[in-house]
């Protein structure tokens, strides 16, 4: 049963990722990416990372994708990729190279999976992850707030209309 749901979700994930890079329309790509992020959240749930699944939906599928859709609507880039591609042959080289990269990744990672893993998977509830974040990872956590503040100020500066 777990295998069936894993393969169904994996198929949705890969299919929506392919949709993102194959559809010429950017807004279709954004909607495919929402599906992709949602199914990755489902995979987090299957792995027992409940807090991250919720954060994934809120941060990625919520906040980040809204930003993307806004940018696409503002820029209206729908007709930018309709013309003939002057570098078509060079771009098609990406397919074999992507295939080779995939083989390399699987080859290297598969070599690492030797020996038994942990007997039980820890449950990634908000309480457990939060306790970890506020003890061992307290300093990086505070640095994150500085990073977000810096990003906010930087974006305001960049997007400001020059008078």
């Amino acid at each position: 049963m777990a295998y069936v749901s894993f393969f169904v979700i994996a198929a949705i994930t890969v299919g929506s990722a392919l949709g993102l890079i194959l559809r010429p329309n950017a807004i279709h790509g954004a909607l495919f990416l929402v599906v992709n992020l949602g199914s990755v959240a489902a995979l987090y749930l299957m792995l027992g990372a409940e807090f991250l699944a919720a954060a994934q939906v809120i941060v990625y599928a919520g906040a980040i994708m809204v930003l993307f859709v806004f940018a696409i609507m503002v820029l209206i880039p729908g007709k930018e990729e309709t013309g003939p591609d002057p570098r078509r042959s060079a771009r098609l080289l990406a397919l074999p190279i992507g295939g080779i990269l995939l083989l390399l990744l699987v080859f290297v990672v598969a070599g690492r999976f030797t020996g038994p893993g942990a007997a039980t998977r820890p449950s990634g509830t908000a309480g457990a992850v939060g306790r970890l974040l506020f003890t061992s990872y307290l300093f990086p956590f505070e640095l994150t707030s500085v990073l977000l503040l810096a990003a906010m100020v930087g974006v305001l500066l960049l997007a400001r209309r020059r008078a």
Partner: protein, 100 residues
């Protein structure tokens, strides 16, 4: 219980799709979304490895990656909007000002 190696294999597939998307597409917004796809693949691998080792540190790292990704998207989209304001075109082939 599905073994963690399945999740890592799926994340490798997603990462490769993201790489191909970055190279193949001409629209900077789609390229940006492909980068998000690669970040997500890395996150999935991090969670899977953490569950295999049996501690929650991988999930803490994923939390930080999400925060950095949010900041990165905001800054990147602001840059793209600014470029579009100046150039009125949106194709990465024409943005060769900084190319040596």
């Amino acid at each position: 219980m599905v073994p963690e190696s399945y999740y890592v294999a799926l994340s490798a597939v997603l990462f490769s799709i993201g790489v191909v998307g970055v190279v193949v597409r001409r629209n900077p917004l789609v390229i940006f979304m492909s980068i998000e796809l690669m970040l997500n693949a890395a996150n999935l691998a991090l969670v899977a490895f953490g569950q295999r080792v049996g501690n929650l540190d991988g999930q803490a790292v994923v939390f930080f990656v999400m925060a950095v990704a949010a900041a990165e998207v905001a800054v990147g989209l602001a840059i793209i909007v600014t470029i579009f304001r100046v150039r009125r075109r949106l194709s990465v082939d024409e943005l060769s000002v900084m190319r040596w």
